[in-house]
Amino acid sequence: MPVNRRYIKELSDMFVDDLKRSDYYRQLTAPQRHDLDDRLKSEAEQGYSPLVPGAENQDLARLAFALLDELNIRLPEAMIDILRQVDGFVANGVTMYGVDGDLRDDEFDAVPGLVAENSFQWASFPETIQKYLFIGDADLWQFGIELDTGCPVVLHRGTLAEAHRFSSLEELVDDMLHQALGYFEDTADFLEVEPTDYSAGFHFSRS
């Protein structure tokens, strides 16, 4: 099951909008801005999501090897499928981890990496060692995959107690995207306007 494409498109639009308001963009020379605009436009025309790309096969292979080598865990197939669609993001207080920068050819650390973040979380909270593969976080939540069962879970960040289990990883990532886009409506409002192709599962923003 794919991640909600509409959420990814909206996140991409939001990132492009942020970029064009940024000091980074303003400080580019006119030819550099023009070149960047062309690249963003071309990607969008080809049906990709500029600034929210999926991971490439070579990077995924390196990530899987590093997880096994450094943390002794296998990268779940479901996570590989997700990363092919969205290789991490940081938005609106929600972070989804991606392929670590040092595993890429250009070593560009665009988002927090799965190996580094799990190393750090496991070191800080030893009771989680080899229990969860953490895939992201927000102020209130830690998102992960329970390694024994493969079940996607949300943990309370303060206590690491389990808050919810999802039926699929796509559903969990849809929820992360949902909050990243800033949607915190109550149940009634949500049901009024939500198209039927959206996840009907748990929304941590409405827990």
Partner: protein, 345 residues
């Protein structure tokens, strides 16, 4: 909400009139430990669910109100820049685009310096101390959460959480007991991205970015923070990354032997407890055990007890789902003017 933000700023000012409190602990400049008598909230109960739900709907309003307040706006401009202020005006946590590159396959991606809004007293704790309201601006801080590989030096919130909060709440007793939480003395942490060697330099920076002038009390705090970090951008001290390094060294040598893993967990937990014990007084619960009566603090960090009752009430405002707004906005100075420093420059 703007009134609640005003109350938060006044509360911060009242914690100490003496700006030297900012640099008392060089490892943790600009923060104090707040002693909160607390118990853990029942996570399955309605109280916990309500607190979580309310926070999600309050946060956007809080971020907007923070940059509507003249002092909040000036502090925001210093901490997150004009682009960050613009995002907060739209109810979003600040993030700064640092770089854009194309991947091997020709897809563009960007690296963003990020900030999150965090609770000071976490929502998993039920305060028994008067004056603490979990979902109130007096309990929020916008903290930097940038991570670059294993380098967590720009992620102070994670540092506070793993060093102080987790050892105190893990295996904590069920009866009310004191928990020491990190309370930043600024609404943003770190409060500055560059050093200021003189107050004139600070005022010039604020004028340059079109931010309101700061009252003297905040100018003094910013200057003190800059002195404490030796006029460099703040980074979490390297010695507190030791747990991560220890983990890396130990873990690579291990296999799935349960006994070896048990030893690893014990070793890491002991290491973390030893680190935090240097900051905390006798009687504090760490991993369920109290520090003994003869325990002495090795690293002094100011300790306060929040007791002032919250005067303002904030209400959550549920929003219907709608696409993110994209209209262009200009960073403008709010109409309300702060009480600015009257010193001649």
């Amino acid at each position: 909400m703007v009134k609640a933000v005003d109350e938060m700023i006044r509360n911060l000012e009242q914690i100490s009139a003496d700006p030297s409190i900012i640099g008392k602990c060089p490892e943790l400049p600009g923060v104090v430990l707040d002693k909160i008598l607390s118990t853990c909230v029942d996570r399955d109960g309605p109280e916990y669910a309500k607190v979580a739900r309310d926070y999600e709907s309050l946060r956007a309003d809080y971020l907007k109100a923070l940059v509507m307040h003249p002092v909040g706006r000036a502090l925001a401009a210093l901490a997150v820049g004009s682009a960050g202020v613009e995002l907060m005006e739209r109810g979003r946590p600040p993030a700064v685009v640092a770089e854009v590159r194309s991947t091997r396959a020709g897809h563009t991606r960007s690296r963003r310096e990020s900030f999150n809004c965090h609770h000071i007293v976490p929502k998993s704790i039920r305060p028994h101390t008067d004056g603490v309201s979990i979902n109130h601006p007096t309990n929020f801080v916008v903290a930097k959460t940038t991570r670059r590989g294993l380098d967590q030096s720009e992620n102070p919130h994670h540092f506070w959480h793993s060093l102080f909060l987790h050892p105190q709440t893990h295996n904590a007793p069920t009866e009310p007991h004191p928990v020491y939480v990190v309370r930043p003395l600024f609404p943003f942490y770190p409060p500055i991205t560059q050093g200021f060697r003189s107050v004139e330099e600070l005022r010039s920076k604020l004028a340059q970015i079109g931010a309101p002038a700061l009252p003297e009390v905040w100018e003094n705090r910013i200057m003190e923070f800059s002195r404490a970090t030796k006029h460099k951008p703040y980074a979490v001290p390297k010695e507190f990354h030791e747990i991560t390094r220890l983990f890396g060294e130990l873990y690579k040598a291990l296999n799935k032997d349960p006994e070896l893993n048990r030893q690893l967990r014990a070793s890491l937990a002991e290491k973390a407890s030893r680190l935090v014990a240097d900051f905390l007084p006798a009687g504090t619960y760490l991993n369920g055990k109290q520090l003994p009566p003869d325990h002495t603090i090795k690293t002094i960090i100011p300790i306060i007890e929040s007791q002032q009752k919250v005067e303002t009430v904030v209400k959550s405002t549920a929003r219907k789902r709608q696409p993110a707004k994209r209209e262009s906005r200009k960073l403008v100075t709010p109409q309300t003017q702060p009480q600015v420093n009257q010193q001649k420059v």
